[in-house]
Symmetry: C2
Subunit: 107 residues, 2 copies
Amino acid sequence: MNKKLKEYYSARATIIKALAHPTRIFIVEQLEKGERCVCELQEMIGDDISTVSKHLAILKNAGFISDDKRGLKIFYSLNMPCALNFLECAKKILKNRARHDLALTCK
Amino acid sequence: MNKKLKEYYSARATIIKALAHPTRIFIVEQLEKGERCVCELQEMIGDDISTVSKHLAILKNAGFISDDKRGLKIFYSLNMPCALNFLECAKKILKNRARHDLALTCK
DNA sequence: TTACTATTTGACCAAATAGCCAAATAGTTG
DNA sequence: CAACTATTTGGCTATTTGGTCAAATAGTAA
């Protein structure tokens, strides 16, 4: 792989990496339902608010979500619904795995 | 988030994490074209063969690919084509970004 | 059996990531 | 302006990940 190609794959990996965290998956799925402010997400997630804020920054930099400041609050919303397709793919794998584990158990 | 839910999201994150690496994206896209042995992939990628092997193990554990040993060689193939949907989503984001950067440049 | 090829595994180090706390920033309200 | 609320940023440590080398494993062939 030459340098140019490597950079291209790295850029794509960075985007995927943004979804590769339990909290960030949760956030994306919440935002599917509509915009949420940081404090609402923080309450659902339960981590320190600075931690939640950093996760949001990662999703935003990757391009999955965008923010809108209104008064004191900042509302985040999903702007790449295609992220959900992939989350579905991960779910599908988990389901297959569960079925397989069950098959083993019943042997 | 309770413990059970957290585990569920972590399991999904582990699957997505498997795709969150330039080399592993490359591998999945190669396997889309058909099965490949480790040595073929190693040659295309250029990293140490043990490195490639570890990337393959990660994709296999996640459930994206499977292996078939025939003689000395081990052939890997893709068994979750839905992975490609997501890789497409990452591509789309990159394209949007490029269009946006261009717009800024032309202002 | 010995030598050879393909691949995986383990030990190790360097770099990246995650989470928490404290401090900084920005907007609001009295 | 001072006090307050919502959020981000910086600094720190602990954990995870990625890569390399050497050794182990497995199949083949002489």
